[in-house]
Amino acid sequence: MATALMKPDAITLKQRVLPVLSILVAVLLLWYAGCVGLNSAGAIERVLAPKGPYSVGDLVHTTLNMQRPVLPSPHQVAADLYSSLVDWPLDSPRNLLYHAAVTAQSTLVGFVLGTLLGVVLAAAIVHSRTLDRALLPWIVASQTVPVLAIAPIVLVILGSLGFSGVAPKAAIAMYLCFFPVTVAMVQGLRSPQRIETELMHTYAASRTQAFWMLRLPAALPFLFPSLRVAIAAGVVGAMVAELPTGAQAGLGAKLLTGSYYGNTVGIWSALVMSALLGLGLTSAVAGVERLVMRRGSAAQ
């Protein structure tokens, strides 16, 4: 067991980074090929044909560097992303980090609330047979309703109650976040073995003590994977919530304005930014997990 803990840094580099890099290269190649394929018709019609004869090299070069391509090429997206980050101040709506921060804010608020709700619901379900039978079907049913249908309703209702800004968006992020946490925590809180619960029984431990000293720590290995799922779902929730309001800011709003104006490069860079945001938030959760679980859990 202990040998598995030794640091295989060199091996990790070879085994983890290399496969990821080769897939990245493959994706980029496919992407470029797609650009040439999808943009060639437009390129010929709008750019090349008016100028007269052209070579294959001209065609490829043009398809990869068009003004409003069907599919922007990776370097166009990268350049747009880079310029949005470097050429504009952080508080400018032209800077994608500004939008990412707006989305991250509602995501994080929704994530924290959703995690709390999920843990509380799971604790209630585990401690009461009635709640188990009454709540669980509704919790599952809640997730079968598409979030796109719920988002406008929530926004309208919360708006009429005077909630605007972060709150409605966080509410929708929370709606997506709590579910994986609830399911994992119900399983985790029930994971202690019979012998462990009997041990607490012989100590005449109260239910509260059994919860804090046995059930909750036993549930942590179940909680963290669900948190990673939850925060990724939270980003989706926050972005969806930004769509129907005609919100001024946020990656969802940026996607929407991009599609209004046919700014495909803008859409793609917003998309890449949201992927990076999701990645960043997920690895932040993973970092917290490593910090908390460093102790003891290597047993399983």
Partner: protein
């Protein structure tokens, strides 16, 4: 057959008047589809303060059930069980006993020290006191220096010693052990038997010990309760003739052999009756 043992051997405890455990006509019946299973049938047993009593018998004889009944881990269907004059539930709530399970049941997220502190924390003692007691108990099972290890870093025998230290931390008058060394190799088992014997010598707590090893039962006990299955019942209660002070070499003496033989015969009787 179920001769109640009303005259236990003179106890070593301060209050010999009240038995540590009194079991009267206790039955445990599990309902089942065809015929109800009599896990325990009208068992009578008195255990005096300071005794070391072993329950021995083949699997299904109810020895573990009897221990679990005394520990309030299992309800009785009929009869009466008293632990230090209280019902098992009261005794459990008064934290009157320590229980050592077959498996160490250590929490993997707690260090060795924190595992031993667990029952003390549940009792609400302050942290410094918990820690001092836990360190002392770990010393008694010769595990000083392993306080900050995690259970999975320890061998099976060491883990079980931690669980014994944990059970002794809050100074229970009664210690119950359910085949605590069953999963260990014989060499480790011998050493732990010796340590347990010395522990009992020093502190004279009442011990109820479930085992299926004849040698273990004879070596450790002041009294051996031989049980038999279907229905689970007490066949025979054998008083040990061995001196209180014991060492492993004792196992080669004729006296030890004779006792072991008596236990083996008792077990064989039960087997014969079962087949008849």
């Amino acid at each position: 057959m179920n001769a109640p043992d009303r005259q236990p051997r003179p106890a070593h405890s301060s209050s010999p008047a009240q038995p540590a455990v009194a079991v009267r006509r206790a039955s445990v019946i599990y309902p089942s589809a065809d015929a109800p299973v009599h896990a325990l049938s009208e068992v009578d047993l008195d255990i005096a303060q300071g005794e070391f009593v072993s329950l021995i018998g083949p699997s299904g004889c109810g020895k573990t059930t009897l221990l679990r009944v005394i520990a309030d881990l299992e309800p009785i269907s009929s009869g009466q069980v008293l632990v230090n004059g209280m019902t098992p539930q009261q005794a459990r709530q008064a934290r009157a006993y320590g229980y050592v399970f077959q498996a160490p049941a250590l929490f993997p997220w707690r260090t060795v020290l924190a595992n031993v502190m667990l029952p003390l924390q549940i009792q609400g003692r302050n942290k410094a006191e918990c820690e001092a007691i836990a360190r002392e108990q770990l010393g008694r099972v010769s595990l000083t220096g392993f306080e900050n290890k995690y259970p999975w870093q320890l061998s099976g025998g060491m883990q079980q010693r931690v669980s014994i230290a944990r059970a002794l931390g809050f100074e229970p008058k009664l210690l119950m052990m359910d085949e605590p060394f069953g999963a260990l190799d014989e060499i480790t088992r011998d050493r732990l038997n010796e340590q347990l014997q010395q522990l009992w010598q020093r502190e004279r707590r009442t011990v109820v010990f479930v085992t299926h090893s004849i040698a273990e039962a004879v070596y450790l006990s002041t009294r051996i309760v031989v049980m038999s299955p279907r229905p689970g019942r007490i066949l025979k209660v054998i008083e040990s003739t061995l001196p209180d002070e014991r060492h492993l070499g004792l196992r080669d003496t004729p006296e030890f052999m004779a006792l072991a033989h008596e236990v083996r015969e008792g077990l064989a009787d039960g087997h014969g009756a079962d087949e008849a």
